[in-house]
């Protein structure tokens, strides 16, 4: 009771532009034991972030604070300048400041990031971890380790692992680029000229993309981001596009054809002949996206004469028109992306001749409209099934944006130079 009251005081009601019935529940990913705090959807526990001690502590503080803010699940309370990160914590003072939890972090002399999360109401440490920080400080691996810390803090407090330790792949200047989830570290992947439609392997180690050559020939390339080695896949046509990995990483599905295009299934690292999944009837089928259980595929098809989103079994049987209800303009819905929680399929639908992002709830097929400003397309879900990234023209040039589908909050992920075809990575685990 006491805890609930504390939480209520500490919570900030989320700005909500989405009908509550259509809102996904945030606790579905909960696994294991959660101590001390309960998390109510639509509310945000206050989290007080103490100054971070040790070398690079200021940078760690900035990254943790930004990650927790971008996570949209907690309300970050800046540390009192007089707050201490050593010695006994003054829980009553933190409670008075609206904190349900306190994050106490330090960079140890051995180069690890030590993080403790305190339950304010319980006046005790809930969780503590050590994350090895790879040299050099502020390098990409170092930053990713801090992001992993942020994600565990978020999981401890809300029950849902954060999505800070992720990257987006996207297309800029005719190549594939990568950028960290917080907008840092954007860079072109060498050797990806002509790259389109990047897709992540569930390991986070590989991407697949469509390589468009100067001749117009298109080939699927699977690239090892660590070693830079590539494996090329074609169904024997000049057109091979829109690859997607199955959730177990053992299958790659893509579209190929010489008139219409069909979906084909292939081994991502082998040389077996791709297997046709959709019947060869001269229609265009493209943009596959697997359900998280790997049993179904959403895709775009014009089999009714115009582009709509369909779902079929992963072997190509039982195709079913998904976008049956009337919303947006007639004639054009495409580019589905199945949410990692399995509940929704995001897609783009023309409204007044301009694409907007929508999501269809698979349980009742209700549709949420998620964007309205500018032209918005190419949705890609974050691993949390709550955030998605998309391409938007709202500031003029095409850029990748992030949307919290629960609060409606958006932020611009890419700047400087047009960016499109964003794909949100899975959680990027530490190298072992």
């Amino acid at each position: 009771m006491n805890l609930a009251r504390t939480l209520a005081l500490a919570s900030v009601a989320a700005l909500c532009c989405i009908p509550s019935a259509a809102r996904p529940q945030d606790t579905t990913a909960t696994k294991g034991v959660r101590i001390g705090l309960t998390y109510a959807p639509g509310t945000r526990p206050g989290v007080l972030l103490l100054p971070v001690t040790g070398p690079g502590g200021d940078s760690v503080y900035a990254i943790l604070g930004r990650d927790l803010d971008y996570g949209d699940r907690v309300s970050v309370i800046p540390a009192d300048p007089g707050a201490t990160s050593t010695g006994a914590l003054n829980y009553p003072a933190y409670a008075a400041a609206g904190a349900a939890a306190v994050v106490q972090a330090s960079v140890t002399p051995s180069g690890s990031l030590h993080i403790a999360v305190h339950d304010v109401a319980g006046a005790r440490v809930m969780n503590a971890w050590d994350f090895p920080l790879a040299a050099p400080a502020l390098g990409p691996d170092w930053r990713m380790a801090v992001h992993r810390g942020s994600d565990e803090v978020e999981r401890a407090i809300t029950g849902v692992r954060g999505v800070a330790a992720t990257r987006a792949a996207f297309v800029r200047d005719g190549s594939i680029w990568l950028i960290d989830s917080d907008g840092y570290g954007g860079h072109a992947v060498p050797g990806t000229a002509g790259g389109l439609s990047p897709a992540w392997h569930p390991s986070g180690r590989y991407i697949a993309y469509d390589e468009l050559a100067a001749t117009g020939h298109q080939t699927i390339v699977v690239r090892d981001l660590t070693s830079g080695t590539t494996h090329r896949i074609s169904a024997g046509y000049t057109l091979n596009l829109s690859p997607a990995f199955s959730p177990d990483g053992n299958t790659l599905v893509f579209a190929a054809g010489d008139d219409g295009s069909d979906l084909f299934s292939a081994a991502p690292f082998g040389n077996s002949a791709p297997v046709r999944l959709t019947p060869a009837r001269g229609f265009s089928n493209a943009s596959p996206s697997f359900s998280p259980d790997g049993k179904q595929i959403a895709f775009t098809s014009n089999r009714l004469g115009h582009a709509e989103v369909y779902i079929m079994d992963a072997d190509g049987t039982n195709p079913d028109l998904l976008t049956t209800t009337a919303f947006g303009d007639q004639m054009y819905r495409s580019d589905p992306d199945w949410s990692p929680d399995g509940r929704r399929v995001a897609f783009q639908s023309q409204v007044g001749g301009v694409f907007q992002i929508m999501a269809i709830n698979l349980s009742d097929r209700s549709v949420q409209s998620l964007t309205s400003e500018g032209r918005n397309d190419e949705p890609s879900w974050a691993p949390d099934g709550r955030h998605l990234l998309f391409t938007s023209t709202r500031t003029g040039m095409k850029q990748i944006w992030v949307l919290d589908t629960e609060s409606g909050r958006t932020r611009q992920l890419t700047h400087n130079g047009a960016a499109r075809m964003g794909a949100w990575s899975p959680h990027l685990e530490a190298a072992r």
């Binding site: 001749t215 298109q218 054809g257 219409g260 265009s284 775009t300 014009n302």
Partner: protein, 206 residues
Amino acid sequence: MLNSRSSIVVAALAMLAVTACKKKPEPAPAPAPAPAPEPPKVNQDSIDAARRAAEEAARKAAADEAARRAAAAEAARLEAEAASARATIAQMVYFDFNKDDIRDDAKPTLDAKVGILNANSALRLRIAGHTDDRGSDEYNLALGQRRAAAVQRYLVSHGVDASRFETVSFGKERPAVQGEDEAAWAKNRRAEFEIIAGGEKLRMPH
């Protein structure tokens, strides 16, 4: 053309005249006493020989020049014909929004290509389908392929073998013109034609 023809006629007449002279029967020579040896007219003979050689050289030069001009004129004519054929091949065809149907206004353009293809049996083409900037990036890659295939189907239905074409799509990735209005979109919804083999010495249909 006229020039080269008249040059050829002149040269032929000259040859005929030479042949006729040689074939003229000569009168039987009267028996004569052994002639007294005349002093050799060395100077006069060498002057005549030199004059004849000069005349022969001039004639040959004139003939060579005429032949060269004739060849150059023929080469220019063939190049103009090849350029005309290449221009006919390169002529783009355009499509309606989100459609791959061959429009009526594209048919004469494609029919002209059929003539060129029939007149040049080694000619092979790459047909590249393109789309405007609206619509899905990925779906437009598929749509561009259908446009290229629709063009190929039309050409094949008019008697050209399918093996003479390669079809590809650039979707919306290579706009012909920039712009966010119908004028720009209409120019970008197109099929382009590129010669990939047999493009030397193209002939127009006759």
